[in-house]
């Protein structure tokens, strides 16, 4: 009869196995590494889940802690106990030391992708109410999109890319790289007025409460007209197939 793996070993193997699976799937198979900050959070709750499964009955709990209890209480395990008791604080010291070592790399920053817009903003020499601002030109829709495409190619594609995926020729030189409009988490989540504000005022127009912020987006109101910005917004939505945030189907401008 095969010997059953002890509960403590089962628990440890499960945790190590899940960690390995994360690394294998994200880093190797998908080629999209899992950020260490997120993996730490994931693993914390994986460990909590494993603890819950292994301790919800008395019998299982006793079996789980038996080796630990024996290590502390059993006189025959004194040599191993001494080694564990010596190594544990040393390990803790090493982790602390490694954590406090100064690094060349800049520290990570909490960064908001979408800072909140002001309720109104002054652009093109007048004040816009961003809560209500929308633009509607249903009859000329196709023509305006085509004109927007021209504006985009002449001004935006160098950074945001000819496929609007943030991979333009200059993108490699920027950190963070430019916004990908193809991502479902960007323009598809926002109202048109948000885009109008962001394009017109660029990086310098970002609100103070959105700090820390790094953006090399120019202040386009100094290069483009108000109409040109609206046209390029139409093009962004039309090309990607996304729709701006709407509150009712009646407000869906894409139907025109």
């Amino acid at each position: 009869m095969a010997r059953r793996i002890p509960r403590l070993a089962q628990a440890v193997l499960t945790i190590v196995g899940i960690y390995g699976a994360f690394r294998l799937v994200f880093d190797v198979l998908l080629g999209q590494p899992i950020p260490s900050s997120l993996l730490t959070m994931y693993m914390f709750f994986v460990v909590a889940g494993v603890y819950m499964v292994f301790t919800f009955t008395e019998e299982s709990t006793r079996e789980l802690v038996a080796p630990i209890r024996a290590l502390v209480e059993d006189p025959r395990r004194k040599p191993i106990r001494n080694v564990v008791f010596a190594l544990t604080p040393l390990l803790a010291a090493w982790f602390t030391y490694a954590g406090l070592q100064p690094r060349i790399e800049a520290p990570v920053e909490l960064r908001s992708i979408h800072p909140a817009p002001p309720s109104s903003v002054k652009m093109f020499g007048k004040r816009f109410d961003l809560l209500k601002l929308e633009k509607e030109e249903p009859k000329k829709f196709r023509q305006l999109v085509a004109e927007g495409a021209k504006v985009y190619v002449e001004n935006c594609h160098f950074c945001h890319g000819d496929k609007l995926d943030g991979r333009g020729p200059y993108a490699e030189g920027l950190n963070p790289v430019p916004m990908s409009f193809q991502d479902v988490g960007t323009i598809a989540q926002l109202q048109e007025s948000f885009l109008f504000w962001r394009i017109a005022t660029g990086g310098p127009g970002l609100p103070a409460d959105a700090a820390p912020w790094i953006s090399s987006m120019p202040v386009w109101e100094t290069f483009l007209s108000e109409e040109e910005i609206w046209k390029v917004i139409l093009f962004l939505y039309d090309y990607t197939g996304h729709r701006p945030r709407l509150w009712s189907e009646n407000a869906d401008h894409s139907k025109h």
Partner: protein
């Protein structure tokens, strides 16, 4: 006989109290209704009677050495809210438990309901004290704001104060009359008092909610803050009802968790098997109440958030995508912790049954499902990346994890967590029973099909409408998702009840045979709820940023800035610690009345008669 006579004598007084309460409740709303019916022209004429919102300077905010006005108001408001939530919630489920006791004629329910209300009665005076403290702090540190709000809500503030009398009178009658109003008609009178208590309490909260939501989404005033005179418009602002719904549901969940912590405290300090059994049952019931209210809470929260976003893009993005997005990750972690703790408590509780071994092997699958849903639930949209990771990914967007950061993925995850929790509960119910009906296999297959089809539907709705249609459908698809979840909960409970009708018990349930670890899960629930409420309360309030009343009345105080996340989290945590300390005091005090010390030799011997 004596009781019946007592009731006959008391009835006129009770009727008077009830009539006064009903009158106060009706009258509290009457002026607003009258305003609402007035013609627009009359409103225009009235408008001149009200001043615009004042333009203040730093000098208009009194400074007192050693006190920070903002933190004082923040902590007093939060502590008042915690206690108010607790004392408003407890009568809701005490009323239900008392009614169940009356329906089943099982006195244990009556004793349990009494034990619950006993805990809240001590907290009641603390609620009032903290409410007074908040009022004083507001008047001292923000006199112009209070004056402005009082100018608009003066009628409702007067009625609020008067309703508080009614609330106190009914609560004391309800509590102190518990053992007096027993049996027959008297018990019905007592139950009616419970109903009145809840009606008055809920009206009080709705009035206070109107003042708070007016500050967020003002209505009934023009751009300069001049009040139109229509009080109902000011009360019935865009966020009033979403907050009302959210707070009622959340209060029940929070109240249940606090009472659960009380039961755990009593369980751990119990010295006899009877006490352990009693407090184990109380803890189980409290947990059941907390979880029953927790299940619909994410939907109430989603409705509130959608309304906030619809009211103001600026507020919506500040909340979910801007500066507070990181606090929302903490919120997600805490909500997930609530689900984990509640499930763990249920799994540990299966130890009360001798038949639970049959189901133990399924726990690991449930745990896996809940953990996977939980990880998706708290995956942030904006990842914290080191420069190396940023280069490796080719940008700040993660192709796999990025889409998990937005609401459609969260909606799928939370519905899945709720359904897995439902499965845990069904398993707990089945643990001690053996069905006797002939259609057991068909019943199990139907339930399996129900859960599978439901999860697939939730997944499809979330993925298709969340990622491949516009935001109207994305937000709207959450409704059929919720309905799917609710339909599964109801249908599976009905099938299970029918399947286990007349079922054999494996053995009597061993109340009290539960690990101490499970009791710490109850403590965790209470702490997580408390912290969560503090955190979300801060976010809700801070959405106004540098406005006392959004876009109408500017905050010019030295504290009119949004503090760093760490600072805010520290203040909220300090509040949670003070609240917990006060709650422990309340728990301890509620036990003191049962203690008797015989002071031998202290009192003079009574002279022989």
């Amino acid at each position: 006989m004596r009781i019946a006579t007592g009731i006959r004598r008391a009835l006129p007084r009770l009727a008077l109290a009830a009539a006064v309460t009903v009158f106060l409740g009706a009258a509290a709303l009457a002026p607003e209704a009258a305003f609402a019916a007035e013609p627009v022209a009359a409103e225009g004429a009235k408008a001149s009677a009200f001043a615009p919102a004042p333009t203040l300077t730093t000098a208009d905010y009194p400074q007192i050495r050693g006190f920070n006005g903002r933190i004082a108001v923040w902590l007093a408001a939060q502590l008042h809210l915690w206690f108010a939530a607790f004392v408003l919630a407890v009568p809701i489920f005490v009323f239900i438990i008392e009614a169940i006791g009356m329906g089943t004629r099982d006195e244990r329910y009556d004793r349990l309901a009494y034990e619950f209300i006993k805990v809240s009665i001590t907290a009641y005076s603390l609620t009032a004290i903290l409410g007074g403290l908040l009022l004083f702090f507001l008047v001292i540190f923000y006199p112009h704001l209070f004056q402005y709000l009082a100018g608009i809500f003066r009628e409702s503030m007067i009625w609020y104060a008067l309703l508080f009398f009614a609330e106190s009178a009914i609560l004391y009658l309800y509590y102190y009359g518990w053992h007096w109003l027993q049996g027959g008609f008297a018990k019905w009178v007592h139950l009616t008092l419970g109903l009145l208590l809840n009606a008055v309490g809920t009206t009080l909260m709705f009035l206070a909610n109107a003042w708070v939501t007016f500050m967020m989404s003002p209505a009934g005033v023009d751009a300069a803050g001049v009040f139109s005179g229509n009080t109902w418009a000011a009360i019935h602002n865009a966020l009033w009802n979403p907050i009302n719904i959210h707070r009622v549901v959340a209060n029940v969940a929070f109240g249940g968790s606090i009472v659960g912590a009380y039961a755990a405290y009593r369980f751990l300090s119990a010295t006899t098997a009877e006490q352990k059994a009693q407090y184990d049952w109380m803890g189980y019931t409290a947990n059941f109440i907390a979880i029953s209210a927790l299940l619909p809470l994410p939907f109430a929260g989603y409705y509130l958030t959608a309304e906030i976003y619809a009211y103001s893009q600026q507020m919506g993005i500040t909340l979910m995508g801007g500066i507070f997005a990181w606090l929302f990750i903490i919120q997600a972690v805490l909500i997930g912790t609530l689900f984990l703790a509640a499930n763990y408590y249920l799994w540990c509780g299966m130890g009360r049954s001798d038949g639970a071994v049959r189901y133990n092997r399924y726990v690991k699958y449930l745990a896996a499902g809940i953990i996977v849903a939980f990880l998706v639930w708290f995956t942030p949209h904006t990842l914290i990346l080191t420069n190396e990771e940023l280069k490796a990914l080719g940008g700040p967007y993660h192709k796999i994890l990025g889409p998990l950061g937005i609401m459609p993925a969260k909606n799928i995850a939370v519905n899945a967590m709720i359904l897995f929790t439902t499965l845990s509960f069904l398993m707990y119910r089945r643990a001690n029973k053996i069905p006797t009906v002939s259609w057991v296999n068909a019943g199990n297959a139907t339930q399996a099909a129900l859960f599978t089809a439901g999860l697939l539907n939730i997944f499809f709705l979330g993925v298709y409408h969340g990622y491949f249609t516009n935001t109207v459908y994305k937000v709207a698809s959450s409704i059929p998702q919720v309905l799917t979840t609710l339909a599964i909960i109801v249908a599976s409970t009905v099938i299970d009840t029918l399947m286990y009708r007349g079922a054999k018990e494996v053995a009597p349930l061993h109340w009290g045979r539960v690990s101490d670890r499970s009791q710490y899960a109850l403590f965790l629930l209470a702490v997580a709820f408390t912290w969560l409420m503090g955190l979300m309360g801060y976010i809700r309030s801070s959405l106004r940023q540098h406005w006392h009343v959004t876009n109408v009345f500017r905050d010019a105080s030295p504290d009119a800035f949004t503090p760093t996340l760490g600072y805010a989290a520290n203040v909220v945590s300090l509040g949670a610690i003070i609240f917990m300390a006060l709650v422990i005091f309340v728990f301890w005090v509620s036990q003191v009345s049962a203690r008797h010390t015989t002071a031998v030799g202290y009192w003079k011997a009574e002279p022989a008669r």
